[in-house]
């Protein structure tokens, strides 16, 4: 992680990370909370803006990079992960954060998710899950609940929704967390831990869409919250704890669900390159094997 080391003793103000652009999100959108929490987490970690890169897909949530004062990349619908991985592998020093919505990440982009989990490149992926397609005006999303009525499911959805946490666990993501855009203080803690984690970290943020789902989405989530950091039985290093979370029915657990350190990709790549370079092939000799 690249931080503002020369300011080690000083406080960094969260506003440093805000761009001058005013968000065009609807008043009351959960994504405002995510933006604020992210700025506070950056400030806590003293990330250097010039060493931090936010890559997003396309969607309301994917507008996030525009509102942050760092390297921003509003990329391709569903492709934030491969683009983020490419950037991180090209420049290990960057703090790379991929961001997007539930449609972006779990519909069109879902094919990239298992590979990001197993490849374990040291990036953080945050998904602002509002259970709907916001930007395109309220269509069914893969996380929309059973029976959901949307502009493309006029008679109610007949498809089983994806649970992103269950998916991440099945894909052996080394770090899995959930936060709520309506509790910024808690979300900051979660984001700090996720960014600090060495390897691929995934955070599902419940971020209500007041326009296409409605204000009650906030209230319903709030009523069901269960804070894992206050649960003495929860141990994020124990997979059984994570399994318990994905099977819960009435409550919605927020916090660090799973944290399992294993060597990340760059570390393994460095080792591999070192072993391969022992052969010390010179550039000008590269074609020697083809000589008769």
């Amino acid at each position: 992680m690249s931080t503002v080391s020369d300011m080690a003793d000083q406080q960094v103000k969260p506003d440093v990370y805000k761009s001058s652009l005013k968000p065009v999100w609807c008043p009351g959108c959960g994504d405002y909370g995510v933006l604020n929490a992210l700025c506070q987490a950056f400030a806590r970690l003293k990330l250097k803006v010039e060493d931090t890169m936010i890559v997003s897909g396309i969607g309301c949530s994917s507008r996030l990079p525009g509102y942050l004062h760092s390297y921003g990349f509003n990329a391709v619908h569903g492709r934030a992960l491969p683009i983020a991985i490419g950037a991180k592998l090209a420049n290990h020093k960057l703090n790379v954060i991929a961001a997007g919505g539930d449609g972006d990440g779990f519909s069109i982009g879902i094919g990239h998710f298992p590979h990001a989990c197993r490849r374990n490149v040291d990036i953080t992926y945050i998904v602002m899950d509002n259970q709907v397609y916001g930007l395109t005006k309220g269509q069914l999303s893969p996380t929309s609940p059973d029976q959901a009525i949307t502009s493309t499911s006029k008679y109610g959805s007949i498809e089983t929704p994806i649970d992103p946490i269950r998916l991440a666990l099945g894909c052996e993501a080394p770090f899995i967390a959930r936060g709520f855009a309506g509790d910024i203080k808690h979300l900051v803690e979660v984001l700090v831990r996720a960014i600090k984690h060495r390897g691929f970290s995934f955070v599902q943020i419940l971020s209500p869409c007041v326009t296409y789902v409605g204000k009650q989405q906030f209230i319903e989530i709030k009523q069901r919250l269960h804070y894992l950091d206050q649960d003495p039985e929860h141990d994020c290093r124990d997979i059984a704890s994570a399994v318990k979370v994905i099977n819960e029915q009435d409550v919605i657990s927020v916090g660090i669900i799973r944290c399992h350190e294993r060597p990340h990709y760059q570390k393994k790549l460095a080792k591999l390159n070192k072993a391969a370079s022992r052969k010390k092939a010179k550039l000008e000799d590269l074609l020697d094997t083809f000589r008769p």
Partner: protein, 368 residues
């Protein structure tokens, strides 16, 4: 005759598909075609037919591939970025000789571009956006009525020639409302078509098995297959090219435009004619096959062409090819969501008419 209804182009397209007997529709949301997906989600179930919002455009076009192989009438729709993702599937449909209807409600590009109307996917549509030696029939509506009629006709052409057919529309046509008279328009009755004796319908009863494929690895087989495709494409070139003409008989300067741009040009011609100026409009209705013979014929008597597009200049290349240098071909285009202005079309055409009268012959290839 049925009563007229006021409807958007996107919805008219959906209504046309349902009228044509579309059995399955697979889509994915993208602006500015969302009304079409929403329309299908409401009305396909009412007809007992299949509607699925796929997880991506790649998935949607492959659902189309499967449903088509099963012998069903099938459609997908999207807008430019999503159509790019469908190119692989379109190439496979063409290679496997399967019918399918694809609607592109174009928006500005490249990349994510914007959601304004555009005609910048002309090259992709008519020159083969996917890989390999294939062609796709491309129809260009320029009214809400034609969104309905051409979608119906697309199903007929797709079945008749066993190939993908695209309706190339744009955000303006998709979103605007106009009166539509349903049921009017082109034939799309399945009765006149040959039976789908290639469809994968289950091989009980001892008939020989059928294989749908686009893979021809054995020596020479792909070339033979492609020669067969070419024969079919040549037949379509000879028989299916269509264009509309407006005041072309005595036109000295001919505007050439399709879709939304053609609507604007029509108005410019009307204004010119009101002042007695010899301006005409050629409106390609099929973009592939391109009505090259019509252009060539007009080039024999007109003194200049002015091609108008909502792009930086794409169809103009086909007009120039057809004109073969006989007369100058000027271009006026707006890119990135810009729409050509009628006044500007008129001014440029007027300038060409004046230049012609004075015997000048400059080729103005400007983009503004």
């Amino acid at each position: 005759m049925q009563k007229r209804v006021l409807i958007t182009g996107n919805e008219a397209c959906g209504a046309g598909a349902i009228a044509a007997g579309c059995d399955c529709y697979f889509g994915y949301p993208i602006t500015p075609q969302n009304e079409l997906t929403a329309y299908m989600s409401r009305h396909m179930p009412e007809q007992g037919r299949v509607f699925v919002q796929a997880e991506s455009e790649v998935s949607a076009i492959n659902m189309v591939y499967g449903a088509s192989a099963a012998g069903r009438r099938v459609m997908t729709s999207s807008s430019s970025p999503g159509i790019s993702l469908k190119q692989e599937g379109i190439s496979y449909l063409a290679g496997s000789e399967l019918p399918a209807v694809i609607i592109n409600v174009q928006r500005g590009g490249p990349g994510l571009g914007n959601i304004e109307p555009s005609q910048a996917d002309y090259f992709q549509a008519v020159k083969g956006g996917g890989h390999g030696d294939y062609r796709m029939i491309v129809l260009a509506p320029s009214s809400v009525q034609e969104m309905y009629d051409f979608t119906r006709r697309a199903f007929y052409l797709a079945d008749r020639y066993r190939m993908p057919v695209m309706v190339l529309s744009d955000g303006r046509l998709g979103q605007m409302m106009e009166p539509l008279r349903p049921g009017k328009g082109s034939k799309s009755s399945a009765a006149k078509l040959p039976p789908k004796d290639w469809a994968l319908t289950g091989a009980s009863g001892g008939r020989p098995k059928r294989v749908v494929k686009s893979f021809f690895p054995a020596d020479g087989t792909l070339e033979r297959h492609n020669l067969e495709l070419e024969k079919k494409y040549n037949l379509i070139r000879r028989t299916q090219s269509r264009a509309g003409e407006y005041f072309c008989e005595d036109a000295e300067v001919v505007l050439a435009a399709y879709g939304t741009a053609a609507r604007l040009c029509r108005e410019a011609v009307r204004r010119a004619r009101a002042k007695g100026l010899p301006l005409g409009l050629l409106r390609p209705v099929t973009l592939w096959p391109f009505p090259a013979a019509r252009v060539k014929k007009l080039a024999a008597r007109a003194r200049a062409f002015l091609v108008v597009e909502m792009s930086s200049g794409q169809m103009v290349e086909d007009v120039r090819l057809a004109v073969e240098g006989r007369v100058p071909v000027a271009f006026y285009g707006r890119s990135g969501g810009g729409v050509p202005e009628i006044g500007e079309i008129y001014r440029r055409a007027h300038r060409l008419l004046r230049e012609k009268a004075q015997g000048g012959s400059q080729d103005r290839g400007t983009v503004s």
